[in-house]
C-alpha cells in the first residue's frame, strides 16, 4: 500500500516537473523571448532599459533557471511575473478561484445534462428520443469551443453554460454506451423479466455496475473541461487561469507560464488519480457501500 502511494506521488511529481520544464523550454525557444515591450518606452533611461534586458537574459539558461525556480518553489516563492510585474502568487490568488468556480459550475451542468439525457434515453427507449439526443450532442461535439464562446458573448449568456454544452456530449455519449451495455447484462434482464420497475433497475442493478467507470470519467471530464475553458476565457474575457495562460504565452512570461503549466498538470493528474483510486476501490472491494446495499436488498427479498 505504502509502495503504491509513494509510486503515485513520484509519478505525479515527475509529470509536473516534466510538464513545467517543457513549458519553460517552449518559452525560451520562442522568438522575442529576450525582448520586452517596456524596452520601447521612450520615457525610460538607458540604464533602465539595460536592466530590463539583463533581467530577461538572466532567465535564458533554462536548466539553471529551472533549478533556481524549483529551489524557490520549495520555499513557497513562485517568482514575479515579467509582464504584469506582480508576484505570481498574488496573481494566482486572484485568478484561480474564478477558473475553479467556472470549472465546478460547468462540470456540474455538463454532468447533469449528459447523465440525465443518457438515463432518459435508456428509460424512455424510443428511437426518436435517442435520435434527438444524439443529434443535439453531435452538434455540440462538432462546434469549436471558441465559436460557441463567441456566440455566448453575442447573446450575453454566461460562459459556464458554453463550457457545459461543449463537454456534456462527451459525458452523454460515454454514459449512453455504458448504460446500454449495463442494461443488457443478464442480471438486469432477469430483474426486468421479474417485473422490477425502471427506477428500481437503474438504482439497484445498473448504477452499481456502471459506477466504477463513471467515476473514472469524472477525472477525464475535468481534464477536458480545463482544455475547453481556455479558449472560452480568452474569447469571453473571463479573468481566469485560461486568459492568464494566453497572456503569458503571448508576452513570453516565463515565470507565469511555468507556474500555470505546473498547476494545470497538478489538477489534471490529481483528478485522474483520484478517479482511478475510486474506480479500483469500487471494482475490487466486494464490501463497498453499493454492494452492501445490494446484498442487503437480496437478503431481504429472499427472506420475504
Amino acid at each position: 500500500m505504502l509502495r503504491t502511494v509513494l509510486l503515485a506521488i513520484g509519478r505525479l511529481l515527475a509529470i509536473m516537473l516534466l510538464a513545467s520544464f517543457f513549458g519553460a523550454m517552449l518559452i525560451r525557444v520562442a522568438p522575442g523571448f529576450s525582448s520586452d515591450e517596456q524596452q520601447l518606452n521612450s520615457g525610460l533611461s538607458a540604464q533602465s532599459i539595460h536592466a530590463i534586458r539583463e533581467a530577461r537574459l538572466a532567465n535564458s539558461d533554462i536548466p539553471s533557471y529551472y533549478a533556481r525556480y524549483i529551489a524557490s518553489l520549495l520555499r513557497g516563492d513562485l517568482g514575479i511575473s515579467q509582464s504584469l510585474n506582480q508576484p505570481v502568487r498574488e496573481i494566482l490568488r486572484d485568478r484561480l478561484p474564478i477558473t475553479l468556480r467556472s470549472l465546478m459550475i460547468a462540470l456540474a451542468l455538463a454532468w447533469l445534462l449528459g447523465l440525465t439525457l443518457a438515463i432518459a434515453a435508456q428509460i424512455v427507449n424510443s428511437t426518436p428520443f435517442t435520435f434527438l439526443s444524439d443529434g443535439v450532442s453531435g452538434a455540440f461535439i462538432s462546434t469549436p469551443a471558441a465559436v460557441l464562446a463567441l456566440l455566448f458573448v453575442l447573446l450575453r449568456w454566461p460562459p459556464e453554460f458554453a463550457a457545459a454544452l461543449l463537454v456534456f456530449p462527451k459525458i452523454y455519449r460515454y454514459c449512453h454506451n455504458l448504460l446500454r451495455e449495463s442494461y443488457e447484462l443478464p442480471h438486469v434482464l432477469t430483474a426486468r423479466a421479474k417485473g422490477a420497475g425502471p427506477w428500481r433497475i437503474l438504482q439497484w442493478h445498473v448504477v452499481p455496475t456502471a459506477l466504477p467507470q463513471l467515476l473514472a470519467l469524472i477525472g477525464v471530464s475535468i481534464s477536458i473541461m480545463i482544455g475547453v475553458l481556455l479558449p472560452i476565457e480568452v474569447v469571453c474575457d473571463v479573468p481566469g487561469i485560461g486568459q492568464l495562460a494566453w497572456q503569458a504565452a503571448e508576452s513570453r512570461d516565463l515565470p507565469l507560464l511555468v507556474n500555470l503549466t505546473l498547476i494545470v498538470a497538478l489538477v489534471t493528474v490529481c483528478a485522474t488519480m483520484l478517479s482511478d483510486t475510486a474506480r479500483s476501490y469500487f471494482t475490487h472491494n466486494p464490501e463497498s457501500k453499493s454492494d452492501r446495499r445490494l446484498l442487503s436488498m437480496i437478503r431481504w427479498r429472499s427472506a420475504a
Binding site: P144, A245, A265
Partner: protein
C-alpha cells in the same frame, strides 16, 4: 442507423467534390476583391455574399474546406505515424523503455491538449507566409496529437508480444524493427486506421479553434477556422444568416465524420 451512416458518407463525398469543383462553382476565386461591393448580401453573383474586403464568401468557404479536408488527414497521418513509432517502441521493448515513454505520454495527456496547442502556437512566430502558416498549424496538430493513440498502440503491441505467432517469428530469427514492421504493425492495421480516422475530425475542430483565436492559417488564405474568426466582427446577432454558413458546414462535416466513426469511439 445504417441510413444515417450512408447519408453522412454522401455528405462527405459531396463536400469533397464541391471543394474540388471550386473553380466551377465559385469562379471568382478566394482572394479576388470586388471592391465596389464589400459586405454584400447574397445575390446570383455571390450566393453567400461578400466579406468586408469584397471577397466572395462561397469561394473562400470552398477553398477553406479544401484546406481543412486535405490537411487534417495529413496531420492525422503524422500523429498516427508518431503514435505507431512511440507506442511500438514502448510495447516492444517494455521495461524501463516503456515506463519512460509512457511517462512522456502521460505528460502530454495530463496537460490538456488545447492548452498545450494554443501555448505552443502562441510562442511560434505569427508573421509567416500564409502557406507556411498552413504547414505550421497542421504540423503542430500532428506533432502534439499522438499521445492518446500511442498508449492504445503500446497496449496492443504488448498483448501481441505474448501471442504465439510472435513467439514463432522470434524463434525463426525475426527481431527488432523487422519484427515490428513485418509482424506487429500489420496486425495493428485496424487500430491504426481507427486512430487515424478518429483524429481527422478532432484536428478539423482544433484548427477552427486556433483560427478563431487568430493563431491558425494566415490571410489571405482561408480555412474553416479563419472564416469562423470573421464572426468576431459581429457586434450583435444581426439577421444575416449567411454569415453562419461556415459554422453550419463545419458542424455537418465533423458530425458526418463522427457518425461514420461511431463504432470506433474510444472509451475513456
Amino acid at each position: 442507423m445504417k441510413m444515417i451512416r450512408i447519408a453522412a458518407a454522401v455528405l462527405l463525398v459531396f463536400a469533397a467534390v464541391a471543394t474540388l469543383g471550386e473553380k466551377y462553382i465559385a469562379p471568382a476565386g478566394y482572394e479576388h476583391q470586388f471592391r465596389e461591393s464589400p459586405d454584400a448580401s447574397p445575390s446570383s453573383q455571390h450566393p453567400l455574399g461578400t466579406d468586408d474586403l469584397g471577397r466572395d464568401r462561397l469561394a473562400r468557404l470552398l477553398h477553406g474546406m479544401r484546406v481543412s479536408l486535405l490537411l487534417a488527414p495529413l496531420a492525422a497521418a503524422l500523429a498516427t505515424a508518431l503514435a505507431a513509432f512511440m507506442g511500438g517502441l514502448a510495447g516492444y521493448f517494455g521495461g524501463w523503455v516503456e515506463r519512460c515513454l509512457m511517462l512522456l505520454v502521460d505528460v502530454f495527456l495530463c496537460v490538456p491538449w488545447l492548452f498545450l496547442l494554443i501555448t505552443v502556437r502562441a510562442v511560434l512566430p505569427l508573421n509567416i507566409s500564409p502557406e507556411a502558416s498552413v504547414v505550421v498549424t497542421f504540423a503542430l496538430l500532428g506533432f502534439l496529437g499522438w499521445a492518446a493513440s500511442a498508449r492504445i498502440i503500446c497496449a496492443g503491441i504488448r498483448d501481441m508480444m505474448k501471442s504465439e505467432f510472435v513467439w514463432m517469428a522470434r524463434a525463426a530469427g525475426f527481431s527488432g524493427f523487422k519484427l515490428i514492421r513485418l509482424h506487429l504493425l500489420p496486425n495493428l492495421r485496424g487500430t491504426l486506421l481507427a486512430q487515424f480516422w478518429i483524429s481527422v475530425p478532432v484536428f478539423i475542430i482544433t484548427e477552427a479553434n486556433l483560427g478563431v483565436l487568430g493563431l491558425g492559417v494566415s490571410e489571405p488564405l482561408p480555412s474553416l477556422g479563419s472564416l469562423l474568426g470573421e464572426l468576431q466582427r459581429m457586434v450583435m446577432l444581426r439577421p444575416e444568416p449567411w454569415q453562419f454558413v461556415p459554422l453550419i458546414v463545419l458542424i455537418i462535416v465533423v458530425s458526418s465524420f463522427q457518425i461514420l466513426l461511431g463504432k470506433h469511439e474510444v472509451r475513456a
